[in-house]
Symmetry: D2
Subunit: 397 residues, 4 copies
Amino acid sequence: MNLQEMLATIHDFVERELIPLESRFLHEGFRAILPELQAKRREVQEMGLWAPHLPREYGGLGLSLPEFARISEELGRTPLGHYVFNCQAPDIGNMELLLLHGTDEQKERWLWPLIRGEIRSCFAMTEPNCPGSNPVWLETLATRDGDEYVINGHKWFASSADGAAFAIVMAITNPDEENPYRRASQIIVPTDTPGFTLVRNIPVMGEAGEDYMSHGEIRLENVRVPVQNRLGPEGEGFRLAQERLGPGRIHHCMRWIGICERAFDLMCRRAVQRRISHDATLADKQTVQEWIAESRAEIDAARMLVLDAAEQVEAHGSHGARVAISTIKFYVAGVLQRVLDRAIQVHGALGMTDDTPLAFWYRHERAARIYDGPDEVHKRVVARAILKHYRPPQKSS
Amino acid sequence: MNLQEMLATIHDFVERELIPLESRFLHEGFRAILPELQAKRREVQEMGLWAPHLPREYGGLGLSLPEFARISEELGRTPLGHYVFNCQAPDIGNMELLLLHGTDEQKERWLWPLIRGEIRSCFAMTEPNCPGSNPVWLETLATRDGDEYVINGHKWFASSADGAAFAIVMAITNPDEENPYRRASQIIVPTDTPGFTLVRNIPVMGEAGEDYMSHGEIRLENVRVPVQNRLGPEGEGFRLAQERLGPGRIHHCMRWIGICERAFDLMCRRAVQRRISHDATLADKQTVQEWIAESRAEIDAARMLVLDAAEQVEAHGSHGARVAISTIKFYVAGVLQRVLDRAIQVHGALGMTDDTPLAFWYRHERAARIYDGPDEVHKRVVARAILKHYRPPQKSS
Amino acid sequence: MNLQEMLATIHDFVERELIPLESRFLHEGFRAILPELQAKRREVQEMGLWAPHLPREYGGLGLSLPEFARISEELGRTPLGHYVFNCQAPDIGNMELLLLHGTDEQKERWLWPLIRGEIRSCFAMTEPNCPGSNPVWLETLATRDGDEYVINGHKWFASSADGAAFAIVMAITNPDEENPYRRASQIIVPTDTPGFTLVRNIPVMGEAGEDYMSHGEIRLENVRVPVQNRLGPEGEGFRLAQERLGPGRIHHCMRWIGICERAFDLMCRRAVQRRISHDATLADKQTVQEWIAESRAEIDAARMLVLDAAEQVEAHGSHGARVAISTIKFYVAGVLQRVLDRAIQVHGALGMTDDTPLAFWYRHERAARIYDGPDEVHKRVVARAILKHYRPPQKSS
Amino acid sequence: MNLQEMLATIHDFVERELIPLESRFLHEGFRAILPELQAKRREVQEMGLWAPHLPREYGGLGLSLPEFARISEELGRTPLGHYVFNCQAPDIGNMELLLLHGTDEQKERWLWPLIRGEIRSCFAMTEPNCPGSNPVWLETLATRDGDEYVINGHKWFASSADGAAFAIVMAITNPDEENPYRRASQIIVPTDTPGFTLVRNIPVMGEAGEDYMSHGEIRLENVRVPVQNRLGPEGEGFRLAQERLGPGRIHHCMRWIGICERAFDLMCRRAVQRRISHDATLADKQTVQEWIAESRAEIDAARMLVLDAAEQVEAHGSHGARVAISTIKFYVAGVLQRVLDRAIQVHGALGMTDDTPLAFWYRHERAARIYDGPDEVHKRVVARAILKHYRPPQKSS
């Protein structure tokens, strides 16, 4: 199968197999449809499209980032897509970390079960008392005690912690290091380790969620793990996180494009179907037409920007492409919010209900402008990188 | 107590008695806090501020519409305010209808229990198959059979139907009447009447809600009620609805202003508290400052427009003030959405959680731009009223 | 005549006598129509509406600020209005300064000729090398030499310098004063003083303009004036300027509301007249209707905010009302730009021409968001005043 | 020279040779610098970059449309670029028309002198009484009289008519043809033909302009030209115009991208240079940073959309690419307006003057959202093309 065929196959699969499950997901919750999702996962494995982001030697499709990006868009058309293909965040990022930085033993114990879809994982970085806009500000401490780290801290928005087999925890291991970017390490913590508590699934926009679809608040109290659970060298936590964020943001942005396309499709369908008088539908209204045209332009523009950023990551790495990545992070999040808003308005009261996935995305994807760095931070990154070229050399601020 | 004193008293009461209940409301639901709310209702009665919208002879405060509007703003600062003061939609509108158009018998049976807070009610107008932008398009039929109406139809977004003692149902009684505005009547239907079914509380933005905080889908199948249950003359349903919408929109708009003020307050508090580095808080960021300044300007402007519209309703009635009413309907709904969006962004991840009421309003008040006529319809009303003065007399479109 | 009668009289006068002069003004320039304008000025004097901003004892109408604001709106409907009524900036501000702070001799020599309309004046504050957002940053120096000041400096955007009899020049007189707000004084400089050069009328948006309608660049080289030409005490230049800016911004904002109303009127007229097919005009297009509705809402909201700010200035002085003044400065400037933009779009190619005043305002009133403090500065003023109430007392930034 | 080398060469030439001429152009007008421009034109010819849009056999560079688009962007960075390279509108479009549809005789007489830069031309389509949004609505008539057409009509916004050797006039030749798209023809009219009058250069945003930089109003009164002056078959005027508009809009859009890049460059330069206090420049302000980041994202997105549309025109012709063309027409015009607006705001008062080209573009490129079809028309084209795929087959509107 070449890429075009894969995309067509996945598009059909999403339409035929996954979208029909959405209604139960939205009304009964994620856990209620887990058996069906597991069956779909097996179908995907049989189709040979499982874990498409992975290299061939790890059972994946061996795609470039721009190629996988296109697949991510197709999967993004339903909230269930990435999970069923086993390329859902945060597992996809954790797989990448383990693949690049894991020891053989770590891979055996954590990576392969993830790849096979037997376990899930989470990533515990954000802390309620520390602003996400300042990533080096962490309070979680991992103190060396012999061959172990003793970890204490408070994390939240650890997505999918509920049911995860392990967490990758970002913690300060070198508090005295001068360079604040060299103080933290990433440490694998099995969730059944004593002292590791999932306090709650945080109610987000009215929903605590469950299982994969949840955001955990975690307490770590004298949690002891062997030093071998550290990913990569000590003090390299931020570097690893930064590396991971590049492709991660491409994945998110393409997922958002997929959401946009689905919302666009729903908006157009609704427009031609909804009669507003005996001889007219919403599609005849100029305002609806303008929303459709503006959405089309914005989605197309957004996709081109993201695919271009993916090419840049492929060519120059996450660091080399960081301006492009920050640009798409805020730009696509904005397009996403506007397109969803218009699609809901076209649906009227129906748009407020859970009879379409629009309301689900409207409330949960509001976070797109917040997580992984709020818009404001990414705009600053872009502007400062540009202004550096304009500034007289002596001045830096 | 003069108005200023009332406002100050209510402001304090909201701060001291109601806001502390919000967290349980947001995490456990409306029903969980009903006992506390009933206790607060009794306190309000004892304070002499119960049902402030009603004339003195009906136990209210005898306020003008602009005066009550100011009170509605104060109550709007929490999702619990109007309910505790017994001036919550849709009961407030139903009380007004009964007060103006009810027979003595209807008042005795339905109005006084509402006033005393012993029962609740709902209003069943919107139909899933008929666009809200075309109010005369209804499929629910009330056919005369002797001294009874036999009602068949399908309604949804009947707010607070769950637990309501009766519904006021808009139904076509005169299908052959030429003037489409003269075909419908409003009929009181006790919810325990055979054939009246609350199909479900519609999941809206992920929440079916319960009791007062819900939106019902209703089936009416051969529902029989005596002709005496009709409110006002036959065929006058729309006229009554129109009349009701004028003050109703003032109430909504002032409630939204209250929400804006609360969101503004939360945004400012968060801005000064949230450290983003050792020597700065969010309040030091220019972007946050601009959101605060723009929000302040927009909220102040919105309040003035609403109070002016209230004066116009007071002076010229709902029909005479309809342009002002349509203007505030779309304008204030827009301000509300922008202010809530900014407040959430300032809160970051916290803004996504239910640890503040912002996320509740963000998802549920998205409907502000939809119900009671979407923005698009109100803009058209305003423009056409204005353009009429510019058009040569012969042309009308 | 009460206020309503004055407003109606002025409205008619603008329609009947001034708007017909606009076309020649726009195509031939200000000087070409000066004779007609002088004739209109005499008519205004005869009608008893001359210099409406002044107290009765100075020949004006003795109006409150909110009352004059309403008149300023009516005059703002044409670029020629304020000039013909002798209440045009910058003369209106200079009259106020002289009235409040002038000595009897200064009043005799400068104020009364201004009031009689025999001379014009300008105000020279802005400097090309100093940002307007930092008002205390000035390079123009007035050094005391015996009974004279010797002034050296470079000013620009001194509106109406071309043909002015005198300039009020803001200059540093006390460079060593610690408080930067106490370093400058305002000094009256006759334009025929040796060393005072009007370098050019600055080409602004393609037009250097002429006479009253111009913005001058000025060089001051060893300009000598007697110390008695100073307005108010030494070092009080900023305080006087601040005082002057309060009412000045009310005047500007109400003039902008007048422009908005005229643009709105032109937009509506055009909409009903422009056929786009055999059975439709632009007024039938939903997008045009939405622009009309949104403009109506925004203009009404803006006017209420400005009149409220005028009441605050009247009650609490410029300093007491400074938050309200900063709010309207950026808010109304934004409304102005949007309304003009929509009106031009409705006019199509005609909107680009000088056959309506829209293009004149579109280009010149772009400055509304810049002069007297850019939007950004005013938003900061508003936000910081608000946030002060939220901040713990020790912190100030 | 490959494309990259051409772009670099042109970029340098624009920077070194053309931008220094801008100030005189802006202050003294186009005619004042014509001698210099002619000299620059000769340099361009010597560099072998003349008329880059033409096929090699006509003396051009034989570029594809996407290749020329990149050059058009570079030239767009100054208002003088396209003229000096002899690929300025409307001559570029007229050359294309003559090249594709001209007879040998027409090419000899009109095309080759245009190619050599000896003459200029104009295109007379728009009429003051007919809306541009309805292109088939024309009142200019060309009546056949023997071997001649007798043309009567009124045109305006015929850009560069002042000094043009000929006009291509769109006129109704077949008024009785049922299909309104088959009624008009394009006819070459030498401007010295009796009855052809350039009434005026229309004052546009305060400037009548002159020579190439002007927009003419034209009267045609019994203008007689031989039938051989018709371009293409009778009744094919619209088809030819449509064909011409495809590449024409690509050219415009890429010129706008060039303007955006220049404005962006000026904005960044200004930001780092303008001190606002002793230790900060405008580049340190978050709001300025956000304008820079948002502008960067929007310009990059816009360019990708335009280059993609150019590929589509190349692959599928103007008609096949019409949705992409309409999309970029409104989208890029919007980006252009926003970027210019931000750049002016960053320049403050300087941005209002003609000391930068920003104010020139701000006022004249407001037309970008109007000419060649206003935003509204293009959005409708896009929406209707999309909705066609959603609509049940029987319905068309």
